[in-house]
């Protein structure tokens, strides 16, 4: 399924990311005394252009720069060199429980979290019923978040993120929130996204998942793109993988 709509929604141009390795936090004195730092290039001259509606799987070993690339696309991290251009709302489903406040109720947290994801108050007003229904929190919605179980928090996080109407969705394949029932529900919701014209970028070790959902595969090794192409990249990445 190639894309009739050629609109570019994401462009990474010569992206590099350097991390300083700090074994411990530097103090002010150390900063002025010793100037040289160990550095580590997590990404090296990455060039990726993504069109609207593409489903992309990013694969690679641990430490190949997969997470860094997602953070840079999400705008959470700033590249050392290069330019990131995105069109539309980018929502990451990586850290679902982040951004909640334990003392506030589920209801209040929906507003806070929704706004952090870029939603306007009016937008949340319209969707709050759906979000509560999707998260399946019932009477707990008026209880402070510290009374929630882990699963409930993740469910709420997931429900808010998918209702934020993302144009570009950043995913981690290890996404598991709640019980079987909710996992089924979230999988269905994601499938819905996969069918729509949404742009989805998945970071994963699960090659089967990529094969069944993605149209394009990017293989990263030590911060550089080794392969960028169709599903044949999977075979090149792991010859032992059969499908």
């Amino acid at each position: 399924m190639m894309h009739r709509n050629p609109q570019i929604v994401l462009r990474l141009t010569h992206i590099s990311k350097k991390y300083e390795i700090h074994h411990e936090k530097p103090t002010l004195v150390e900063k002025f005394v010793k100037r040289k730092n160990e550095t580590f290039w997590a990404l090296n001259d990455i060039n990726i252009t993504v069109h609207k509606g593409e489903k992309i799987g990013i694969i690679g070993r641990n430490g190949s720069g997969k997470t860094t690339i997602l953070k840079i696309i999400a705008g959470i991290s700033t590249p050392t060199n290069g330019v990131v251009q995105t069109v539309g709302r980018v929502v990451s489903l990586i850290d679902l429980a982040a951004g909640f406040h334990a003392e506030l109720t589920g209801y209040q947290n929906i507003y806070l979290n929704g706004m952090l994801l870029g939603m306007l108050r009016g937008e949340i007003d319209e969707k709050i019923k759906d979000i509560i229904a999707f998260a399946d929190l019932k009477q707990f919605i008026d209880a402070p978040l510290f009374t929630y179980s882990n699963g409930m928090t993740l469910r709420l996080g997931f429900a808010i993120a998918v209702h934020a109407n993302p144009d570009i969705l950043l995913l981690d394949e290890n996404l598991s929130a709640g019980d079987n029932n909710f996992q089924q529900k979230s999988r269905n919701k994601l499938k819905e996204f996969f069918k729509q014209e949404k742009t989805i970028i998945v970071v994963t070790h699960n090659l089967d998942f990529v094969a069944s959902t993605c149209t394009r595969v990017i293989h990263l090794r030590r911060g550089t793109v080794i392969h960028d192409g169709g599903l044949e990249v999977l075979k090149a990445y792991d010859p032992a993988w059969k499908k």
Binding site: S77, T86, L104
Partner: protein, 256 residues
């Protein structure tokens, strides 16, 4: 970074401020009254001890003291809470892209709302003092603006620097202790020998608090040289705060 609606930034700032206000007095019995109780206790103690040492007492000393203490508490609470705020709220930083300044600014804003509410309570006894004049409102508003802008600027600077250099938080705690005595809260500038006056020229809170005291008990407002020096310092600190925060905020994630 893509431009975001101004409306969204305001809504987010307000949402975060609401969160601060809601979360602070949760599970406390007296809630908001703590805000007045704290400076009231300070006032009682200082109001008892200080006149024992100083011969020339200030008119309506307890009111004078309380005015300064309320404003000082706004400043010191905001700064000491905002400085480590980026580090404490690291899970927000890692969640999504949003203008980072809402984190320290929402703390200052929530403290400002608390402060204004406390001041309104304080206004009731002030009215019976019959010291309020038409100029009071102007004095108070100018003092409030000065201290508010300075707090925003200073907290942007310290919160941004604290991400890389965690010493900044300790430094702020230490400097606040000294700063209290370098601000005319328990004493009046008229008690300071002129050869030392330059110290207060560097302290932007001097004029701000003098203006508020002038509004409440009709003490002398700051002179023009003091006012100019303080305004210049406020502008400078705020400009540096905005620039540093802007530059550093892009790399917060690397250090958290």
């Amino acid at each position: 970074m893509k431009p975001r609606g101004v409306r969204h930034v305001w809504e987010l700032l307000w949402g975060m401020t609401e969160k601060e206000l809601r979360a602070r007095y949760k599970h406390t019995i007296f809630g908001f009254l703590w805000l007045v109780a704290n400076p009231a206790l300070q006032m009682l103690i200082i109001g008892f001890v200080f006149p024992l040492f100083v011969q020339n007492p200030i008119d309506h000393y307890n009111y004078y003291l309380f005015t300064g203490l309320l404003a000082w508490n706004f400043f010191s609470l905001s700064l000491s809470k905002a400085t480590p705020s980026i580090v404490f709220e690291r899970n927000l930083i890692k969640k999504s892209i949003f203008p980072r300044f809402v984190i320290p600014c929402s703390i200052t804003l929530s403290n400002a709302i608390n402060y204004i509410a406390a001041f309104f309570l304080f206004l009731i006894p002030i009215i019976f003092l019959h010291t309020l004049t038409p100029a009071s409102l102007i004095y108070f508003m100018s003092g409030l603006m000065m201290i508010f802008i300075f707090t925003i600027g200073a907290s942007l600077l310290t919160s941004a620097l604290n991400v890389k250099f965690r010493d900044v938080n300790f430094f702020v705690q230490a400097i606040l202790l000294i700063w209290f005595y370098a601000t005319p809260i328990v004493y009046s500038l008229s008690q300071i020998p002129p050869r030392l006056m330059w110290i207060w020229h560097f302290n932007p809170l001097t004029s701000a608090i003098q203006l508020m005291q002038a509004a409440v008990v009709g003490s002398a407002p700051p002179g023009s040289s003091m006012l100019t020096a303080n305004i210049v310092t406020i502008a400078l600190v705020t400009a540096i705060g905005v620039i540093v925060f802007n530059r550093e905020s892009r790399y917060f994630d690397d250090w958290l």
